[in-house]
Every structure is written in C-alpha cells, then in structure tokens.
C-alpha cells in the first residue's frame, strides 16, 4: 500500500509540474504577440497619456517577472479577467461553454462505452464467428474515418436532404433558458442526435476492440474452468469473464475522454455547438485573448486531470500491479 501511495504522490507532483510548465509556456506565447494587448483596445485618437494610463491600469508597465507572478497567481486561482469583446468576466463565459461541451460529449461517451463493451465482449467470446470478423472490419473503418467529414456527411443527409434534424446549435433560436431546463428539453435532444452519432461512430470502436482482445486473454484463464465445473450457465460465465476483461478499459476511458475533449473543437464548429472549443476559435478570431487563454487552460486542465485519474485508477483496480 505504501508503494501505491508513493506512486499517487509522484503522479500528483508531476501533474503540478506539468500545469506550471503549461502556464509558463502560455505566458511566453502571449508575451510574443506582436504589440501589446492594449493595441486592440486603444484607438488612434488616444493621447499618449491615455495610453500610458491604460497600460498602468492593466499592469503592463510592471517588469516581466512581476507580470509573470501575477499571471501565475491569477490563473491558479481561476481569475481570468475580463473579456475584451464581450465585456464580461471570462470565468462565467468559459464555465458556461464548458458545461455545453460536456452536455454534448458525455451522452455520446456513455453510449459508446456501454455498447462498445457489450459488442466487444460478445465478439471476443464468439471468436472466429462471422459476427466477430464483421465487427472488426466495420470498426476499423469507422475508426479511421475523419470525424469532421462524417459530421458533414450526416448534416448533408439528415439535415439538408431529409430535413429530419436541425443543422446546428444546441436548441432552436429563441428557446434558450436555464441550463438544466434546456438540457432536459425535447428540442435539445433533437439537436443532440447528430453530434452524438458522430462521436459514437468513432468512440464505440475503442472499447469494443479493446474488450475483444482482453476477452481473448481472459478466455484461457483457469478460473473459468472452475466456474464451468461448478455448473454455471454460459451467460453467467460471460459476465464473470467480462468483469475481468474490463480492467484495461478503465484507464482507456479516462484517457480517451481527455482526447475527445480536444478533438471536440472541430465538431462544435460543424454543428454550431456553443461549447468551449468553438469559443476558443471565436475568441482567437476576435483577438479576445483573455477568453482564448482561459478556454485553452481549462481544456488542458481537464485532460491532465483525467489522465491523472486514469493512472490512479489503474493502480486501484488491479491489485496485481506493483510499484517501484
């Protein structure tokens, strides 16, 4: 147990180190920007004195290490300042977009993991059947198709040709309300179908292929013979086998969630989904750097945190793993 605790502690230290490095890289990148942030804000008619006052008000006349210190403190306490463009606190804007992204991503991920596990377990159990080979070929193709083209195709077919589903947004224009009211409405569900299908078509393949191969390994284990000798029905044996084959899936899900999170940018653009990725692109186009920074920082934090969870779970779930 001491080994596990030391391992978690070590991972935690690495996590903090990586976050600090990431923030430093961000600071350096935004310092490299041509001109300074006031350039977007300051009009030609401003007198030199007014420009100086703005620079002073924004702390831009302080030496770089003071700016760096302030920057780090602000970022670590989630104080992202005010949006240049929307003249509102960045924290509120980005938090709302983050919730929207989760509303799009989590249902698809949930479906993918559940169905992928079942399909993969059955495919692994029925080794060599037509079901198995069919699943593998289909899933390998689904896995390599670029998701944004799949998204565009879905829009072309279901939205523009058949007119079954809306072409974008989270809800129909004019019907936005409180977050939970919106998420629980039928209108939202209609808007959710296409993005969910796109994410699902790709993400279902991972758990399925993974579970199939880990099922094949479990299938040869002795404990299954014991269960068979006890006279358990085949269905119950599959459940026992699946439980043991699930181990690698735990880490996989956490890592993949982080990965989809960053790929989400493209889908949010295609489906005009007001999520954090789309906000990042809009902010960069508007030169709204406080928002862009916050969006990036939150995305990176989410991914890092999920990877950390994955590593810890890996240690907790499988007692056979030892740490050095």
């Amino acid at each position: 147990m001491g080994g596990l605790r030391r391992y978690i502690l070590r991972r935690l230290v690495t996590l903090v180190f990586v976050v600090l490095c990431l923030l430093t890289i961000m600071f350096a990148l935004f310092k490299l920007l041509p001109g300074d942030p006031t350039a977007i804000f300051v009009d030609n008619n401003f007198s030199l004195e007014m420009i100086d006052r703005t620079r002073h008000a924004w702390g831009l006349d302080a030496p770089w290490y003071v700016q760096y210190g302030r920057y780090m403190l602000n970022m670590l306490s989630f104080d992202f300042g005010t949006s240049f463009f929307q003249v509102a606190p960045v924290k509120g804007i980005v938090a709302e977009k983050l919730a929207n992204t989760c509303a799009m991503m989590l249902p698809a991920l949930f479906l993918s993991v559940i169905l992928g596990t079942v399909i993969g377990a059955v495919a692994g159990w029925k080794r060599g059947s037509a079901f198995e080979s069919g699943t593998i070929i289909t899933f390998l193709f689904l896995r390599s198709a670029p998701s944004f083209f799949v998204g565009i195709m879905m829009l072309m077919v279901f939205s523009y040709q058949l007119h079954w589903l809306p072409s974008g947004g989270m809800v129909s224009p004019g019907s936005a309300g409180a977050f939970w009211d919106m998420v629980l409405s039928l209108d939202f569900l209609k808007h959710l179908i296409l993005p969910t299908l796109v994410v699902f078509s790709r993400e279902v393949t991972g758990p399925a292929l993974l579970l199939r191969s880990s099922m094949l390994e479990v299938k040869g284990s002795d404990f299954l013979d014991v269960l068979r000798a006890k006279g358990l029905p085949p269905a119950a044996i599959i459940v026992h086998a699946t439980r043991n084959a699930l181990l690698p899936l735990v880490t996989y899900v956490a890592v993949t969630t982080g990965f989809i999170f960053q790929g989400q940018v493209v889908l949010e653009i295609i489906f005009a989904w007001p999520g954090v990725g789309r906000e990042l692109v809009t902010a960069l186009n508007d030169l709204d750097y406080p928002v862009a920074q916050a969006a990036f920082y939150l995305m990176a934090l989410t991914i890092l945190f999920l990877n950390f969870i994955a590593d810890v779970l890996y240690g907790l779930v499988d007692p056979r793993i030892t740490y050095h």
Binding site: T14, F17, V18, V19, C21, L22, I25, L29, F30, L32, L33, L140, F141, R143, S144, A145, P146, F148, F149, I152, M153, L155, M156, Y160, S213, L216, E217, G258, F261, Q262, G263, V265, V266, I269, I270, G277, L280, V281, L284, N285, A292, A295, F296, M299, A300, I303, L304, N307
Partner: protein, 307 residues
C-alpha cells in the same frame, strides 16, 4: 584463426544486412502486401502519391485559377461538366484541379511530419532509455509536459500568434507526434540494454555511442517504422482539421481548406460535388495508411496475428 575471422565477417554481414534501411523497407512492403487489407492500402497510397506527383501535369487549372464563360462571366457553382470534371466552387475555381493540388499538401505534411517526429522520438527514446539517470529524468519530464498539451487548442493559439504557413503546421504536428514514439522506444530500449548481446559488446570494449546506434538502434527500427506509418495518417488528418478550422496556410489549397470553403459557403445544401471529393479523398488516404499500419503491426507483433 581463419575460421574466426570468417565468422566475424559473417556476423558483420548479418548486422549490415539488418541495418540496411532499403532492405528493411522492401521486406516490410512484401509482408504488408501479403495481408489483403494491407495490399489494398498500399495500392491506394501509391495512387495518391502518383496523383500528387502528376498534379502539375494533369491538373487542367491552377489551384486558384478562376474559370470564365465565353462571355467573361465567372462559372460559379457549376455542376460537373466536360470542362470542369467535378464542377466549380462559388468563386468559380475548378474542384478537380484543387483536389489534385490538395493531394500534394496532404502528402507533404504527412510525410515530413512523420519523418520529423519519428527521428526526434527515436533519438529521445534511445538516449533516455540507454543512459538513464538525469538525462532520462529531464527528457521524460519534457515528454510529460508535451503529453499535457492538448494539440488542436494549442495549435490554434500558436497559429493565430504566428503567421499561418505550412512550415508552422508541420512543426506543430511533429511537436504533437514525437512524444508517443519517444515513450515507446524508451521502454523498448530499457529491456534491450539488459540483453546479453549488449553486455557482450560492452565487454568487447565497444564505445557506448556505437552500442547505442549500431547494436540497439537496429532493434527498435521496426517500431520506429510503425510510428512513422501512424504519423503519416495523423499528419494528414491534423493538417486537414487545422485547415478546415481556417487556420491552415492560406497560400496553398488543401483538402481541409476546400472543405472549409465549402462549409462556409453552405455547399452541403446545394453543391455535393464540392464537399464529397475532398472529404472522400481525405478519408481514403487516412484509411489506407491505417490499413498499412495494421498489417505492419501484425508483422512486428506476432501476438496480434492470433487474436
């Protein structure tokens, strides 16, 4: 004595044969070609390479040429015709020509970023795994940081700060891809450096650098090749994603930028000939390199063959 010299020569010849990159490539291609999916993938990739090489010869128009009617009006959003095989865009550019020119961008980015990332990743993995100690610690912490950076958001920020160009895109993709190769190669080197043949080389007084590049490196080359193949499809995909978001090089036409133009013009509604060709080519190229990777992976990891 003579017999010993002969056997030394034989060993050297074996090593030389193993390290010959050309031979390794040919042998790999032969094995990939034996796998049905791998063979299809190879044929498709060869077709795309031919398309990219021949683009200047067979493309009827330049990538940004506007096509005019006889009365000097622009041919906007034309359906496929005999002059414009795949129709035209809303600005009167020939889709078929853009498709051909776009393949050059896709393959350039794919190949250069794959080579760059594998060279960096392999070197980092070799040094980190073989020397260990503080070098390993420093290199692996850098790798940790690289793993913590989400690619697309980071690339978008860097591109909006610098000027968008193909070079920046390639460098970004390399920056994104090297980290996995580095970790995999490192763990492979960790086990290789404890093998008897490395001890033997060391006992014979071989220089450390020579052990690393002459005895250990050839054994990780197949893995590096695998990551190179993966890198090509990842590079093609990432360039397309960036261009689709409007953050690609504005001076060249790529499949991603074609899709970006089509998407912004709402061509999904009325101009299938503008949307489908770049999207299908992109999917085909990514899928075919994926099939090659798969066949190659089965070759170097025989356990996959049974399961």
């Amino acid at each position: 004595m003579a017999a010993q010299a002969l056997s030394v020569r034989a060993v050297r010849a074996t090593i030389r044969r193993r390290t010959s990159l050309l031979r390794l490539t040919l042998a790999s291609l032969r094995v990939i070609g034996k796998d049905p999916l791998g063979a299809v993938g190879l044929v498709l990739v060869v077709m795309f390479v031919a398309m990219a090489l021949a683009a200047p010869l067979i493309a009827p128009f330049g990538p940004f040429d506007v096509v005019y009617h006889a009365d000097k009006s622009v041919v906007r959003l034309s359906v496929p015709t005999l002059t414009n095989w795949l129709g035209t865009t809303n600005q009167g550019m020939d889709v078929y020509s853009q498709l051909l020119w776009g393949s050059r961008v896709a393959l350039t980015v794919g190949i250069l970023s794959a080579i760059g990332s594998v060279v960096i990743g392999t070197l980092v993995g070799l040094f980190s795994g073989y020397y260990g100690g503080w070098l390993d610690e420093v290199l692996m912490r850098i790798t940790d940081v690289a793993f913590g950076i989400p690619f697309l958001p980071f690339a978008l920020i860097v591109i909006s700060i610098t000027t968008p160009s193909l070079t920046v895109v390639i460098l970004l993709v390399i920056f994104f891809l090297w980290r996995t190769t580095a970790r995999v190669i490192r763990s492979q080197v960790l086990s290789l450096r404890e093998r008897p043949f490395v001890w033997a080389a060391r006992a014979a007084g071989t220089h450390e650098v020579k052990i690393l590049f002459y005895h250990i490196a050839p054994n990780v080359l197949p893995l590096s090749f695998l990551y190179m193949a993966i890198g090509v499809s990842a590079g093609v995909f990432l360039e397309a994603a960036l261009s689709f978001l409007g953050f690609g090089d504005p001076h060249v036409v790529s499949w991603g930028s074609m899709l970006n133009g089509a998407f912004n013009a709402g061509a999904m509604r009325n101009a299938w000939w503008w949307v489908l060709p770049p999207g299908l080519c992109l999917s085909l190229l990514v899928t075919s390199s994926f099939m090659i990777t798969r066949a190659y992976e089965e070759m170097i990891n025989p356990r996959l063959r049974d399961i």
